[in-house]
């Protein structure tokens, strides 16, 4: 079998490689510009995503198989003990749930008396993580609930301990979740202890978040829990987000430096819950948005479109 092994002749092979480089670079830059600025290419991206979806699932298969096998061969005694523990937990939870239901009724009644708007109900669905982050730059997850299953960009994603993130892009069978710890991702929160409202910012590091723009004398202590405030309608209210671990109050700076850790085990679970809240907030008046300044602008869901 003979092979074409002549030296590279640019001239009998169409445009030279420099010309090709320039052409493809310009094409890439054009795509980059269009994608970053206008997001016109989502449908193209979806089509390619559908084509490569089977291959992607294929690559996730070895890991899944390994875990399934490990589960399958786990010891009987182990399972029995685990079952027993779960049953106890279930009984305890059931008792608390009864209390909770009573409280819920009472709360509904009181709210009706006060004529306060009802809190929104939300439905919760389980989702498996297909991939963990794909890129060092972006800590993102892909979960196996997609448009076909009713996922929408903007829905919150939680685990049993707190908020993991938010769906930012949906494909027919997959959804992309941006983590709360993603760089400059903002979550509107409230301090559980005193109801103080604040905004917690992702640091880009999986184990750290920052509470920015709080005055030095702010009433926040180490160990305070932060839950979503439900303002802005991005996240449903009262989901745990983070816990304060370090506060530096340096009078030289206008703001205190408050470091938190996310409560959700972003890197510990295989299954997550997608919370679909019926957002019933009225649209935000224009003037108010302008008065909020830069922070108000940043609170708008990043990436949700």
């Amino acid at each position: 079998m003979l092979e074409d092994t002549r030296a590279l002749h640019f001239f009998n092979r169409g445009p030279s490689s420099v010309a090709r480089l320039v052409f493809f670079s310009i094409l890439s830059l054009l795509l980059l510009f269009v994608d970053a600025r206008y997001r016109y290419l989502e449908s193209t991206r979806q089509i390619i995503a559908i084509i490569i979806y089977p291959l992607q699932r294929l690559t996730a298969l070895p890991g899944e198989l390994w875990r399934d096998t490990a589960e399958y061969v786990s010891l009987q005694s182990h399972l029995v003990a685990h079952n027993e523990q779960l049953r106890l937990q279930h009984d305890a939870d059931a008792a608390r749930l009864k209390q909770f239901e009573a409280l819920l009724n009472e709360n509904a009644q009181l709210r009706a008396l006060l004529e306060v708007k009802q809190r929104v109900d939300y439905t919760v669905r389980g989702a498996h993580i297909v991939y963990l982050e794909r890129d060092v730059f972006k800590r993102k997850l892909l979960v196996d609930i997609g448009e076909k299953a009713g996922a929408l960009a903007g829905q919150a994603v939680v685990d049993n301990q707190g908020v993991v993130g938010q769906i930012t892009r949906t494909f027919p069978w997959l959804s992309e979740v941006t983590l709360v710890t993603d760089k400059d991702n903002v979550v509107p929160v409230q301090v559980v202890r005193n109801g103080l409202r604040a905004a917690v910012f992702g640091s880009g590091n999986i184990g750290e978040m920052e509470l920015r723009y709080q005055p030095v004398g702010v009433d926040i202590e180490v160990g305070d829990e932060l839950v979503t405030s439900g303002l802005d309608g991005t996240y449903p209210a009262a989901l745990p987000v983070a816990k304060v671990v370090r506060i530096e109050r340096d009078p030289a700076y206008p703001f205190a430096q408050i470091v938190c850790v996310p409560l959700a085990g972003v890197d510990r679970h295989r299954t997550l819950l997608v919370v679909a809240a019926e957002s019933s907030l009225p649209p935000r008046p224009q003037e108010e948005a302008a008065m909020d300044g830069p922070r108000g602008k940043r609170m708008v869901r990043r990436g949700a479109r």
Binding site: L8, R13, S17, S28, L31, T44, I48, T59, G63, V136
Partner: protein, 172 residues
């Protein structure tokens, strides 16, 4: 050097279109394995490495166009911006084509050094685009170029072995 890679014979080995295609599929699948945490940081860029291999060894077959298409595929899978990988891979393929004649003179270790330089440029292009669009750079990202360059020698040996025609069993 012990390796006789630099002799022209290795560069004359045949490579069918199907083989090249299959090798790219394998590289893309490797890249899509669920890497995370530290494994993700040190993950070599298999697609870039293979692209460089074919650009230096079979420049007639694999060029900037194929690099660009592969980049777009990786962009979709990685959920990065459209054209981010495509641009980086195009630059890489161009580097491979330019280096094509020179790399044949070198042994594997010298090749690895050159490959490291090319990968560094391509990684820098990717990081630069990210920095322009998002405003920050994750420096650990560049660790990947080092691990990829370290993988150059094993990868070259592996593919050379696969490309070598099977010896006739009736011989000897």
């Amino acid at each position: 050097m012990k390796y006789a890679i630099s002799t022209d014979r290795e560069f004359l080995l045949p490579a069918s279109r199907r083989f090249i295609f299959a090798s790219f599929i394998v590289a893309v699948l490797l890249e899509w394995l669920p890497w995370h945490g530290w494994a993700l940081v040190v993950r070599p860029d298999f697609v870039a490495l293979l692209l460089l291999y074919w650009c230096t060894h079979k420049p007639h077959r694999v060029g900037i166009g194929i690099a660009w298409v592969l980049g777009i595929l990786v962009d979709v899978a990685d959920a990065s911006l459209f054209g981010q990988h495509a641009l980086a891979y195009s630059v890489l393929a161009f580097g491979g084509l330019v280096l094509n004649r020179r790399v044949q003179m070198f042994n594997l270790r010298e090749q690895s050094v050159h490959v490291f330089g090319l990968l560094l440029v391509s990684y820098a292009v990717y990081a630069l685009v990210h920095w322009q669009v998002r405003g920050f750079v994750v420096w650990e990202y560049f660790v990947g170029s080092l691990t990829s360059a370290l993988l150059w020698a094993p990868l070259t040996l592996l593919i050379q072995t696969l490309r070598r025609p099977r010896r006739n069993p009736n011989e000897l």
